[in-house]
C-alpha cells in the first residue's frame, strides 16, 4: 500500500500476507501510525491496495459491503438519529415488524433500554460506542472490523466493553478483526495477535493466544504471552 500526497509517496504497508478463518477473533497490534488502520480500511474496501488483493470467501473486495461492517475509531453514530433510528439505519430492506423486533433485540443486548428515543449527544462515550456496535450487529454481518473502538474510553469503561464484546462474539460468532495499540487488550481478546512493525508495516510475528475464555489475566500463561509480545516489539517490560 503506497500513499501519494504532495508528490511524495509514502509506503505504508509492505508485504502483508494474512489469512483469517471464519469466526476467528484477530487483533492487529502495532505502534501508532504504523498502518494498521490502513490495513483494516483496505480489508473493509474503503481503500484499494496499490498492489496485491484482499479476498473474502474467494471474492475480491472492491468496496464496502453490508456483510462486513466497520466500527469507526471516531464515533460514527449519526447524531441526527435517535438510538432506535441509528440501530435501524441499515435495516431499510426489512419489513417494519421485523425491523422493530431486531432493534429491540440489539438495544437490549447492548444495555441501552430506556434510551430508545435519546439522541447521541445525550449519551456517554461508552453508550455511543455500544450503540455503534449494536448498529453494526443489527444488519447481521459476517464480519466486524473494529478500529481502536475503545481507545477514547476511560479504563473502567474500556474493561467493561471488552467483556461485552467477548460476550457478543461468543453468542454470535462473527469473524472479528480488531485494531489496537494496547498489548493487554490484544492478549485479553484475541485468538491470534498479529504484531506489526513501524512504517512501512510488515507482520513481525503472529502469536496464538491459547488461553480459553474467560481469561485469567494474572495467570502465568497470560503473562508469558504478553511479555513475549513486549519483547517482540522491543520494549523491556519495565518502567
Amino acid at each position: 500500500m503506497v500513499f501519494t500526497r504532495d508528490g511524495k509517496s509514502t509506503s505504508v504497508l509492505n508485504d502483508i500476507s494474512l489469512t483469517v478463518s471464519e469466526g476467528e477473533f484477530v487483533c492487529l497490534l502495532g505502534p501508532s501510525g504504523c498502518g494498521k488502520s490502513t490495513l483494516l480500511s483496505t480489508m473493509a474496501g474503503f481503500l484499494s491496495p496499490s498492489s496485491g488483493e484482499i479476498t473474502i470467501d474467494g471474492e475480491a473486495v472492491h468496496g464496502p459491503d453490508p456483510r462486513r461492517i466497520f466500527v469507526f475509531q471516531e464515533r460514527g453514530v449519526f447524531p441526527w438519529l435517535t438510538v432506535e433510528g441509528n440501530i435501524a439505519f441499515g435495516l431499510f430492506h426489512l419489513p417494519a415488524a421485523e425491523r422493530h423486533q431486531r432493534v429491540a433485540h440489539y438495544i437490549k443486548m447492548v444495555g441501552l433500554e430506556g434510551f430508545e428515543k435519546a439522541y447521541p449527544p445525550a449519551l456517554s462515550g461508552g453508550m455511543k460506542q455500544r450503540l455503534e456496535v449494536a448498529r453494526a450487529l443489527a444488519v447481521n454481518p459476517d464480519m466486524l472490523f473494529l478500529d481502536e473502538p475503545f481507545g477514547a474510553l476511560d479504563s473502567i469503561t474500556r474493561l467493561v466493553m471488552r467483556g461485552e464484546l467477548l460476550r457478543i462474539w461468543e453468542a454470535e460468532r462473527k469473524t472479528i478483526i480488531f485494531v489496537t495499540h494496547d498489548i493487554d487488550e490484544a492478549v485479553q481478546l484475541a485468538d491470534r495477535v498479529v504484531v506489526m512493525s513501524a512504517r512501512p508495516a510488515t507482520i513481525q510475528q503472529i502469536v496464538n493466544i491459547d488461553i480459553p475464555h474467560p481469561r485469567d489475566i494474572s495467570s502465568a500463561r497470560y503473562l508469558e504471552l504478553r511479555d513475549g509480545i513486549f519483547q517482540q516489539i522491543g520494549l523491556a517490560h519495565k518502567i
Partner: protein, 249 residues
C-alpha cells in the same frame, strides 16, 4: 429587573434624543414624538400595513427562490470535486458584486416592478446560500459517509439519509444570515425599482416634501421587522429535532 434594563436604556436614549433635538435650533433630525406621529400618519392612511406587506412579499419570494435553487446546487458542487474546480472561479467573481450593481440590468430585464426587486433579493441571497451549502457538504466528517456506504446505501439514499441531515444545522444558520441579507437588499431595491414598500417609503418621504419624520419612521419599522424575522429564524434553529450538531465530543 435585569430584563428591563435594555428597555430602560432605550427609554433614556429616546429622552436624550428628544431633548437634544428640541434644544438645537438647527433642524437635523425629527423628534421621537414626531416619528411616533409620523407612524400614526402612515397607519391612518393605510400605508404602513400595505408597505410592510409589499416588502415582505418580495423578500419571501426572493429568499425562497434563492434557497430552493442554491441549496441543491451548492450540495452538488460541494460534493463533486470536478464541478467545484470548474465553477468556483466563476462563483468567486460573481459573489463580491453587490446586488445593487445589478439594478440597471434588473430593470432592463424585468422592468420597474416586483420582478426586478425579487430578482435583486434573489441575487443577494443566492451566493451566501450557495457557499453555505458547498462548505456544509465539504465539512461532513468522512466517518458518516463511510458508514452510509458501508450499510449499502444507494447514491440517492446516501444523499437523503446522510448528506442532507448532516448539513441541516449549517443550512439553518446560513438561512438565518441570508434572510438578514435579503432584508437589507429589499430596502435598496425598493428605492429604485418599484413604487411601494418600506424602501420606497423612505425615498418618497424625502422627495415629496422632506418628511424626515417618515424617513426615520420607515427606518425604525425596517429595524423592528428585521428583528422579528431573525427571532423567527432563531426559533427554527432551536427546534428540538434540529438542534443536534456534531461538534459536541
Amino acid at each position: 429587573m435585569v430584563r428591563l434594563r435594555p428597555i430602560a436604556l432605550i427609554a433614556v436614549l429616546l429622552l436624550l434624543w428628544q431633548l437634544a433635538v428640541t434644544r438645537n435650533p438647527i433642524h437635523i433630525l425629527p423628534t421621537p414624538w414626531g416619528v411616533v406621529l409620523g407612524i400614526g400618519d402612515l397607519l391612518q392612511h393605510g400605508l404602513l400595513f400595505k408597505y410592510v406587506v409589499a416588502s415582505l412579499f418580495r423578500v419571501t419570494w426572493g429568499f425562497a427562490l434563492a434557497v430552493v435553487v442554491a441549496v441543491p446546487l451548492g450540495l452538488i458542487i460541494g460534493w463533486n470535486r470536478r464541478a467545484e474546480m470548474a465553477l468556483n472561479p466563476l462563483i468567486q467573481i460573481l459573489r463580491p458584486i453587490s446586488p445593487l450593481a445589478w439594478i440597471p440590468l434588473a430593470i432592463l430585464w424585468f422592468g420597474v416592478g416586483d420582478l426586478a426587486a425579487i430578482f435583486l433579493i434573489f441575487l443577494g441571497c443566492f451566493f451566501p446560500m450557495l457557499l453555505t451549502a458547498m462548505n456544509a457538504v465539504r465539512g461532513i466528517p468522512a466517518v458518516y459517509i463511510n458508514a452510509g456506504r458501508n450499510f449499502g446505501l444507494s447514491s440517492a439514499a446516501l444523499v437523503s439519509r446522510v448528506l442532507f441531515p448532516a448539513v441541516i444545522p449549517q443550512l439553518i444558520i446560513g438561512m438565518r444570515i441570508t434572510l438578514g441579507v435579503g432584508w437589507l437588499v429589499v430596502v435598496a431595491a425598493e428605492m429604485i425599482a418599484v413604487s411601494s414598500g418600506l424602501g420606497f417609503l423612505i425615498v418618497d418621504a424625502r422627495n415629496a416634501g422632506n418628511r424626515y419624520d417618515l424617513v426615520v419612521a420607515g427606518m425604525i419599522i425596517i429595524g423592528l421587522i428585521g428583528l422579528l424575522l431573525d427571532i423567527g429564524m432563531r426559533s427554527l434553529q432551536q427546534m428540538k429535532s434540529l438542534r443536534w450538531s456534531y461538534s459536541e465530543d
